[in-house]
Structures are given as structure tokens and as C-alpha cells.
């Protein structure tokens, strides 16, 4: 509830190193996660969410969990980690934490793709 009332790390990072957007308005949830990477670690992370209370709380929680972690560690964060940290989620809301974990993975993937391009180009 606290993460819904006072979500952490709301916003976007204009010069982000990686961005992950998942979900669609049809099912009612859209999440975007922005990361800034330094020495292979997540240096800064922000999110934007259109969705229900659980969607907002899970996005806030995953940014807290991922902050300061290495990229490999961040990729290992599962939807259960997010739900557990929040004190559990009703099963109908589990897809929200799934979305949060997916958005983070997409952001890391996006960062790595950009790096490759950079090295190749």
C-alpha cells in the first residue's frame, strides 16, 4: 500500500541508456522503465505506469529492488520477488508484477542492444 501511496522513482530519464515498455492499454496496464547504467550496474532507474493500484506498487517496488544491482542480478528479479516484497498480491493481480519484471528485462535488453550497436558501429 505504501508503494501505491508514495511510489518511488516516478518519472522518465531523458538520456536513459535503456528503456523497456510493456503491456498495452487494452488489458489496462502499460509500464515503461528507464535505466541509466554505469560499470554494468543500474545507476539510476525510473518508471511510468498506467494501471491499477497493484501495477503502480509493483513498478515502484521493482525500481527499488533493481537500483544499484548489476545487470545480471537485475535480470534475475522475478515476479515473485516483487510480490513477496510487497507482502503478497492476489492471484488476479500477479500479472502486474509479471509486467514489472518484464519491463525491467526489456530495459536491460535495450541497453545491451544499444551497446552492441555502439561497438559494432
Amino acid at each position: 500500500m505504501d508503494h501505491f501511496r508514495n511510489p518511488r522513482n516516478v518519472g522518465e530519464i531523458p538520456d536513459a541508456d535503456g528503456v523497456g515498455t510493456v503491456g498495452n492499454p487494452v488489458c489496462g496496464d502499460v509500464m515503461a522503465i528507464y535505466i541509466k547504467v554505469k560499470d554494468n550496474h543500474i545507476n539510476d532507474i525510473k518508471f511510468k505506469t498506467f494501471g491499477c493500484g497493484a501495477a503502480i506498487a509493483t513498478s515502484s517496488m521493482i525500481t527499488e529492488l533493481a537500483k544499484g544491482k548489476s545487470l545480471d542480478e537485475a535480470l534475475k528479479i522475478t515476479r515473485n520477488d516483487v510480490a513477496d516484497k510487497l507482502g503478497g498480491l492476489p492471484s488476479i493481480k500477479m500479472h502486474c508484477s509479471n509486467l514489472a519484471a518484464d519491463a525491467l528485462r526489456e530495459a536491460v535488453k535495450d541497453y545491451r542492444k544499444r551497446q552492441e550497436k555502439h561497438q559494432n558501429g
Binding site: 489496462g28 502499460v30 498506467f50 493500484g53
Partner: protein, 393 residues
């Protein structure tokens, strides 16, 4: 903390006068009205009186046309299955709309499995039934048309009299679900040409667990519940006397207060709607602006989601409802909001405030002060909000 209740369509308090009227029927008048002894007589009188009072609320000829049930869902199930079953030798076609309550929708879906054909009439953007489409759908094998009097989710009141004329021109039976409308707006089953009408007790400050079906005399209908032959053989089961007496009392109060309360709520409703639409950009009304239930404020806000608005309102002491199904058991938005042409994300951004007898101007003002900031905060957080909107809010 201030508490404001704006969810009357979902549940209403029982009027203290209703509660008082019910009270003796728990411990004092507990006899079975079917019994022969004299203590049953008093109970029979209470039952008959309730029947008369409910019939007076809807302009029925007499109490004999009122049958008590357990709730509006049962009345809807009975009306549709009862007519379908009794008339299957005449035809197997039923017409209803895309914005009915699930207790109509799901009975129709069941009947499709039983070999009936059901047409779901589309509605316009306000939720009004298209009379021409209705006329075209009516066929020689049509046995029933079921249309709601008013929709509780978007507030729109249907043109029942016009619908009835079209339906009766073809000699077809008309069922009207008046759950959301009864007690709020005047209904006259005779003048409006209604053959079957569903009523709910709790939707007019009566107790839960009671409902009624008006059946115009001569209507071909089979019972839904078989047993000891109560309700003149049409609805068996020992009568729920406290509930029935409460519903009767609720009908009396609703009738007496209707004219004044209707004006008061309509004014409050329009202050509420206009206030929201004026102070919040990209906000829209769901349903018809004037052909509308006096207590219904259904609005939607672009770029934000209903449940997160509801939770924020709840934190501030306001009970409201959303059209978003995230709150229900599926993730699909409400079929009603989809039927009036809203996109998924528009439906998800809908809120429903339903006003009641205890709500004041102060309650409305409280939400008008509160909601713009909530929407603003969620819009800043939403990836769907365009940049120029973010800067303007």
C-alpha cells in the same frame, strides 16, 4: 476522517422506517401466511399490504400482478426463462440489448445453448436502444423483448414507451428490468405498456434478499421455482415476510419522496458532473446528459486508470466504483462501456459515482476538491499522457 458514500448502485442502506416496519416480522408476526390459525391472518395482511404498495409504485392495476422473489437477478431469470419456456411452441427468438445486466445476459446465453436464438441489439454512444434496429429484428418467431428501464452504470434511461409500441405492434411480450430506475423516476406499467417488470428492494432503500416481478395479467409465463405453490403457484417457497414487508414500506417511502428527491438529486448530479468536466481536462461524461438517472455520475478521464483513482479516493474516505474490470474477476472492461463505443483504455479510465438520500452538496464539493489532484498525479505517472497535457495540468 470524512466518509462519503457514492456507491449506491452497488448497495444502499436500509431506511430506518423500513427497518422499523420489518422488525415485528422477525419475532412477533412469524406465522406462515399459509397457515389456517388466526395468528397467520395478521401475517397474510402484511403480505397483501406489501403487494398493494409495490403495485402502487409502478402504476399496476392491483397487487395481484406483483410476485415477490428473492432479488432482481431471480426476477430477470424468471421473466426470461418463464416466457421462453411457456412460448416455445410459438417461436424461439428473443431480443435484448448489449447493455443489459449480467442476470439478463447470462440467461440469454444459457437459452442459446438450449436452442433459442437471441439478438443483442446495439445501442448508440449514449446507450440508447435504436428503435429502427429493434423493428428490423422483430420476426414472426420472436416471443420476447427484454430491455432495461435505465442502465445503472451509465445512467441512460431508455425510451420504454416507444419501445413498447414497436414491440406490441408485432404482438410480442415486453420485459423491462427496472432495477436501477424504480424508486428514482416515475414508472407506469400501464401507460408505458410493460408486460413484465423486474424490481429490486435494496435499490430503493429496502432490505437485500427481496425483489419482485410484475406480471401483467394474461401474460404467458411458467414458474421458475416449483414447490408448495406460494405466490399463486408461480413462485414457491415460504415467503420472506420481513423482506417483503420491508420492500413494501420502501415502495411507499420512494413514492412519497420521489418528486422532491428527484429534483434534489438531479441538481446535485449536474453540479457534480459539470464541476468535474470543468476542472479536469480530457474528461468526458458516460451516458446521456439529460435522459439520465438522477443519481448517476459516470465520467471518464483520459490517460489514467480507474482502479488507481478509486484507491486514492478510498484513502481520502470516498467510496465510489469503476467501470474497469481490474476490480472484478476478469481483466476485460465492462461490456456496457464497450457497447457504447468506448475503447479499452477509455473504459479503463471510467469512474462511477451513484448518489443517495444522505448525500449533500458538501459531499459533492469534497470530491470536486479532491479528484483533480488525484488525476493530475496519476497523469504525471502515466506513460500514455501526451507531453503537452502533462505541462498543462
Amino acid at each position: 476522517m470524512k466518509k462519503v458514500y457514492f456507491d449506491h448502485t452497488a448497495g444502499m442502506p436500509v431506511d430506518p422506517q423500513v427497518f422499523e416496519a420489518m422488525n415485528p416480522y422477525f419475532n412477533h408476526f412469524y406465522s406462515n401466511p399459509s397457515s389456517l390459525h388466526s395468528s397467520a391472518q395478521e401475517v397474510r395482511r402484511g403480505l397483501q399490504n406489501a403487494r398493494e404498495k409495490v403495485s402502487e409504485l409502478i402504476g399496476a392495476k392491483n397487487g395481484e400482478e406483483i410476485f415477490f422473489t428473492s432479488c432482481a437477478t431471480e426476477s430477470n431469470n424468471w421473466a426470461i426463462r418463464g416466457v421462453a419456456s411457456r412460448n416455445r411452441d410459438r417461436g424461439k427468438h428473443i431480443i435484448t440489448t448489449t447493455i443489459e445486466h449480467m442476470s439478463v445476459m447470462n440467461v440469454c446465453k444459457y437459452l442459446i445453448k438450449q436452442g433459442y436464438k437471441v439478438s443483442f441489439l446495439p445501442v448508440d454512444n449514449y446507450g440508447l436502444v435504436d428503435l429502427e434496429a429493434l423493428q428490423k429484428e422483430l420476426a414472426d418467431d420472436t416471443i420476447l423483448v427484454s430491455v432495461m428501464y435505465a442502465n445503472g452504470e451509465i445512467g441512460t434511461i431508455e425510451p420504454v414507451k416507444e419501445i413498447s409500441e414497436v414491440v406490441h405492434d408485432k404482438g410480442v411480450c415486453l420485459h423491462v428490468d427496472a432495477t436501477a430506475a424504480a424508486g428514482q423516476v416515475p414508472i407506469d406499467v400501464v401507460k408505458e405498456g410493460i408486460d413484465l417488470l423486474t424490481l429490486s428492494s435494496n435499490d430503493m432503500y429496502g432490505p437485500k434478499g427481496a425483489g419482485a416481478l410484475y406480471v401483467k395479467s394474461g401474460t404467458r409465463l411458467e414458474p421458475l421455482i416449483f414447490g408448495g405453490g406460494q405466490e399463486r403457484g408461480f413462485r414457491s417457497g415460504s415467503e420472506n415476510l420481513p423482506g417483503i414487508v420491508g420492500m413494501g414500506r420502501a415502495a411507499v417511502i420512494a413514492k412519497a419522496r420521489m418528486r422532491k428527491e428527484r429534483l434534489r438529486l438531479t441538481k446535485l448530479r449536474d453540479t457534480f458532473i459539470n464541476g468535474l468536466l470543468e476542472t479536469i481536462s480530457y474528461s468526458f461524461l458516460n451516458g446521456h446528459p439529460t435522459k439520465r438517472l438522477p443519481n448517476n455520475v459516470a465520467v471518464r478521464f483520459s490517460f489514467v486508470e480507474g482502479e488507481s483513482m478509486l484507491l486514492n479516493l478510498d484513502i481520502a474516505g470516498v467510496a465510489a466504483s469503476s467501470g474497469s474490470a481490474c476490480t472484478a474477476k476478469t481483466l476485460e472492461p465492462s461490456h456496457v462501456l464497450r457497447a457504447i463505443g468506448l475503447k479499452h483504455e477509455e473504459a479503463h479510465g471510467s469512474l462511477l459515482f451513484t448518489l443517495g438520500s444522505q448525500n449533500s452538496e458538501e459531499d459533492v464539493g469534497y470530491v470536486l476538491d479532491l479528484l483533480p489532484d488525484i488525476v493530475k498525479r496519476l497523469r504525471v505517472m502515466s506513460p500514455l499522457t501526451p507531453k503537452e497535457v502533462k505541462e498543462s495540468v
